[in-house]
Structures are given as C-alpha cells and as structure tokens.
Symmetry: C2
Subunit: 404 residues, 2 copies
C-alpha cells in the first residue's frame, strides 16, 4: 500500500459529478475547498477536505507533497490529439504567416500528406520515440489522460504502428484511418474499401474509438457513415471531425450514430447548435486550432447557452495546432470563447473524460477516482487560465505518483 | 577571464545589424548558420561561426554548453512590461470572460486602480519581491533584457520604490507616473501638477525613460505633451502608450517629440501608419494584450509594408496581458499579425533593443555584443514561434553565464 498526502493546498477545485456529461449551469458549478488536502492510496483518491478535518492518524506512514502556494485541480484530460507523426510543418507555418491559406497549402502538396510521407519514413521505433516525446510534453503541462489518433500513416503498417505507439505511451488510441486519401489510392471510396477490408479488423483490436475527417476535400457524409458503421460493428466508439471549415452534416450524423463526440464546430450554425444541444453527443472545441490557422472561433457560448455538453482539447498536431498545453486552451476559452474559468475547467476534465468513456474514473477530485491532480502554481486555481502561456503547472500527480 | 563555448548548435539565427532600427525587407533578412558554435569571453560574444571553422586551440580552458538538438537566437529583449504590482486581477479576468468590457470593468472600480491599491499596500520589500519574481519568470522564457514601467503606485513613494525595484531586478526602469489619475487628485491636470512638482526630479534620477497613457479616460494630447516635455528636459527618453482603444493623436505627438516608441497601435489608421513609417519612432506591437482583451489586433502587416520600424513586446501586466512569454508573442505575431518568423525575431531582439537605446550591445549574435543567447529546444529556430505555448526554451545564456 502506497499513500500520498498532498497537504496545505490553498484551494482544491473540482467540477461536480455528472452522468451524462455536464451542460448548462452545471458546467460552472465547481466546488472550491480552501486550505485543503488530498489523500491518495494505491493510486486512488481516498479523501479530500479542509486541512482542519485531516485525521491526524493518517499522517504517519505517508509520503507528503507540500501544496503551499498552490491549488489543486483534476489532472487534465486531452480528448483530441494527433501525436503520431514524423517531420514537422514549420516551413508551412512560415509560408502561412506570409498569407497562404490552409487549403491552398494542402492543394500545393503541403498539408496532411507531407506529414504522411515523413511518418511512414519513421519506422515503428521512430514512431514510438516521437509519441513518447509528445506524451512527455503533455504530462509537463498537466495532462494525465489523453486520447491519441492515428491518421498520418494511411497504410496498414503505419496505422497499426501508430495505434500501438499511442497505447504504449499511455494514451487511448483512436483509429483515424479516414483522415485523408493517400496518393496510392484513386479516390476516397477506393481508399475506404481498402481500410475496411485490410485494416479495420486489426485496428479494432488496438483502438478504443474510430474517427473520420468529414470535410470538403476529405470524406463526405455517405463515406463517413459507411466507415463509422463498420467501425461500430467492430466494437469501436465513434468520433467525428466536423464543421471545421464548412458545415458538412457532421452534427446530425454524430447524433444519428450515437457518437461520443463531434469535434471542431467552427462553422456550426444555429440548427446544428440546437441539434447538438438536444443530444448526448459532446461538442469538442479546439480553439488553439482556430488561433493557429487564424480562423473563426467555434460558437462556444451559443453551444453552452443552448444546453450542449462541451469539452475542450488541444488538437495537438503539426499542421494546424502545434500545442500540447491545456492550460493555454483554457486561456483561449476564457478570452476567445467567452467561457468562464469554471466552464473551461469542466471542459478539460470531467466532460473530456466522458468523451473517452472514462468519467467513472477520471476528471474530478473525489474519493474513489484515480488520483490525478495538477497543482497550479498560484493560490487561486483560476490562474490556470489567467496566466497566459505562463508556467502554471507546479506539480503533476498521476495515479497517486508525483510525475512532475 | 571566463569563457563559454556553446557548441554543436543545429543553427544560429540572428537579425542583421541596423542603425536606425530595421524596417521593410531588412526586418526579415536574418542570417542562419547551420551546425554552428558561439564562443563567449567575459560576458561578450567573441566569435560565432560554423563548427568546422572552430579553432581547436580555443577548446582547452573553456566551459562548454552542448547545443545538440537546439538552435541559438539572441536573448530576447522585452521593451514593454509593467512588472511592479501587487494583488492580481483574476476576478476581473473571470468577469470579463462572462462578457464585461475592459472599460466597463475600469468604470466599475476594477481596472488599474484596483491594482494601485494592492501595490501601495505591498511596501518596498514586498514590491521588490514581486518584481524579482516577475523578472525570474521572464528569464525562464528567454528574456535577457527588459524594460519595466512604474505606474501602479501613482504616489511619490510607491512610484520611486517601483523604479528602484525594477533597477535592482536588472530591468531598465521607465517612469509611467502618467498611467492613470489616482482618486486623491481632483483631475488629471492637478495630478500632473503633483507629478512634475513632487516626483519628476527624483524619478528622473532612477529611470531611463518616461511613458504616458494617452487615451480617452486617461491623459489627452496636451497633458501628454506637458508631461513628456518636462521629462525630456530632465534627461529621460520618451515612450507613449497610444491608439490602444481610440486613435488619439499619439503617433504625431511621438514623432513631434522624437520619442523612442509609440506602443499599442491597435486603433491606428492609414494616416497614422504613414506618419509612423516616415519617422524613426518604433511602433511597439502588443498582440498578447489584444488577445487577452479580445480586441482587434494592431495593423502590423500594414505598418511593416508601409516601412515602419516595429518591435514586439509582452505588455506583461495583471489586467490586460498576464504573460511574460516572448516566444508566445512570436507565435501570435505569425498567426495573428501575419509577420514571418524572421520579422518576429527581429522585432523581439534588435528592434526592441533600439527602443531601449541598447542596440549597440544587445539584440544580435555578433562579436562584441553582450553574450545573451536563447537555445531553442528544436533544430529549426522557427519552432520558437511554431510551437505554440510549448516549452521552447532549452537554455538561456545571459552575459556569458548559463542562467537556465
């Protein structure tokens, strides 16, 4: 039995319990305990409360972490990342700064397919090293649970190697075979035929979920439905990239198929907002991607006010969101999406855990849940969002172990 | 004699020499040396070049810093910060996330004056501790030279204590007595009378420059001219906050008075752009402030294309830009201001050094300049801007000493 006492915290802040995902006023109904402790046993939270209620008997044979000057929030859950890639896209980034658009760069041979070439060239060991490095970056910024997508391999070998590398690095793998159409296939339908015949069975053994890029120039509604239905029949939970550049039918399809989430939503209009709000599908908002591409932000306030359940994620990837920092995403949520710090916190913890099917075990500070904590380097936990691009993570506890 | 050899750097990138400040195409005329070294002696750069030209004799009695996997750029120069303050503004940040405007919060008793109350309560030791902490944060993000403004005291004692604390922490102090009108004075003219009669003489002994907040609700052109002319007569260089919310006459005044810079410019139009471009006044752009307040970005591309000299700074302060990270500002420059990484680098190094009158000694990697280096944690130096909110600073060398 190993025990860890995190003591003398200025605050402990946590979202409330929820099933289904938090929405409406519940999104901002955080609980804050001042001058508090968190006691962990065997990787699980045993107790949390004010210091004055700490049972002196428990202070004997326990490791201690000094929380003075800091505040604790749940370990962050990044429910949308693309960590399995080689090369980088810094040249494209520089060209875009000079005025080229994402779609223009894609059409000019940059974009996703340039990363596919670099990723295929890595080999399994190289791919694992890159995913491990990206996972270490995430942990540094307080992410204790993360989903990682394949989708830069687009061939059997590299897609499966990506899923293995993500699992090995501690992530929840999502098979994003339908990310783009690689050049060796004549069209999207032929590529889907290949994916479902040659890759699906093995990918379904390795992954927890499947995802598709539903967008002009990628896959349309009929193709996305075909891919996702086949994946669901093989036991995978469903995700969709939708409404990033154009409103493309992703929201109704996500609701129809009972997907866990529909992600991006920068182009979602009023009808899509109402449809999503009437469902249990979580809208995953990715403001760092909108910032990186200098595109409109998703209509977060409208979605929340309509009653939709939302999560926030980094969209970590080399082309459109090269950031692993969920604290930074919280800053964008408060300054660009007009969400409160409390709403942002719920969106990067409990609701993100719902997207991964892990809300029974992660995303809150409560007895019985996995002991995942971020100690924010300030006495008011809201500095997490307020201190823009600052070093706000003082310590990270994952499953009861101090990892940073 | 102490020597430091930074060796096996993947790249050394530096802006070109310039007097007056860089503008136009020169802003992006960076030099990049691949597989390079930088040799420092007694805090000064002695030599820089490709590894193959490194004289073997110099490798004897020298400390070494392994640059493998990193790239070197000049230490960053933050030419616009407000580091001397108490309390925080996280409650105001949270309210603004819920929809209140900056001017509404100011009118409601929040804003600058709430920080003035907290700053006056600190006392000189408390103020020094805060400035030291903020300076340490800046160094962590690669800032080796910085300007710091007073302006949260607004009484004789706290203004002078702020300037002393900034100098002690290693910064270049700017007297921003004319930041806001404190409640104990009936109006702006009476407050200026007090500043010039009771504070100016001593402030001029402590500071390098003077600054004024020229804006609706703060000080108008006539008041700013009066303040700045008196400061100039006492030997101070001149700066202006101008055109942040409204185009207020700051650009013509800055040119008329021969100011070193005019800062903000979010509201500057075509005439102001032409006026600035025809002068040697540097336009200091503060995109983190525009992001933090969700306000329009400054017209950076138009300014650069018109031939204006520009610098970039954090505007570090608790109310409108709680960030100390110039790498993050470079990311905003590339994604929001449509500047190239090369232009952003010049704007946070050599041109920022010009604003502080230090371009003879800082802002480039060249023999004879102070040995201030940032080792970017990537083989391509442009990751500095590309890796959004990432931990891009591997090492910091300041005056030849490894500080991080």
């Amino acid at each position: 039995m190993t025990r860890l006492l995190v003591r003398d915290l200025a605050q402990v802040a946590t979202p409330p319990a929820a099933h289904p995902p938090l929405r409406g006023r519940a999104l901002r109904a955080s609980t804050v305990i001042e001058n508090a402790y968190v006691l962990c046993r065997d990787g699980v939270i045993e107790a949390v409360g004010p210091m004055r209620e700490l049972d002196a008997r428990s202070v004997g044979d326990v490791a201690e972490l000094d929380g003075r000057g800091t505040s604790a929030v749940p370990g962050f859950v990044d429910c949308h990342t693309h960590p399995a890639w080689g090369g980088d896209r810094v040249e494209e980034f520089s060209l875009r700064a000079g005025g080229a658009s994402y779609e223009e760069l894609h059409a000019a041979g940059g974009g996703i397919l340039s990363t596919v070439t670099a990723t295929r060239a890595l080999g399994e060991d190289g791919l694992r090293a890159r995913v491990d490095r990206h996972a270490a970056w995430m942990l540094t910024h307080g992410t204790t649970t993360w989903e990682g997508k394949s989708g830069y391999g687009l061939d059997r070998e590299t897609e499966l190697a990506s899923l293995r590398a993500i699992r090995t690095a501690g992530g929840s793998p999502t098979w994003l075979g339908a990310h783009a159409v690689p050049p060796e296939h004549p069209d999207a339908d032929a590529y889907l035929e290949f994916l479902l015949a040659e890759v699906l069975t093995d990918a379904a053994q390795l992954a927890d979920a499947a995802d598709v890029f539903l967008e002009r120039g990628a896959f349309d509604v009929a193709q996305a439905r075909r891919y996702l239905e086949a994946c669901r029949a093989n036991g995978l939970a469903l995700r969709l990239h939708g409404d990033q550049f154009t409103e493309s039918g992703a929201v109704p399809l996500a609701v129809e198929l009972g997907a866990r989430s529909v992600d991006h939503l920068e182009a979602t209009g009023e009808a899509g907002t109402r449809t999503l709000a009437a469902s249990d599908v979580v809208g995953v908002l990715l403001p760092a991607s909108a910032l990186f591409l200098d595109r409109p932000m998703p209509p977060a306030r409208a979605l929340v006010d309509a009653g939709a359940a939302v999560a926030l994620a980094t969209d970590f990837n080399p082309g459109s969101a090269f950031t692993e920092s969920l604290p930074f995403v919280c800053s964008l949520a408060c300054t660009q999406l007009h969400l409160s710090p409390e709403e942002a916190l719920s969106a990067v913890t409990v609701n993100a855990a719902h997207v991964l099917g892990l809300a029974h075990d992660r995303g809150r500070i409560a007895p019985g849940l996995r002991a995942d904590l971020v100690l924010v380097a300030a006495e008011d936990w809201r500095h997490l969002a307020y201190h823009l691009a600052g070093d706000v993570v003082a310590h990270v506890v994952q499953a009861g172990s101090v990892r940073r």
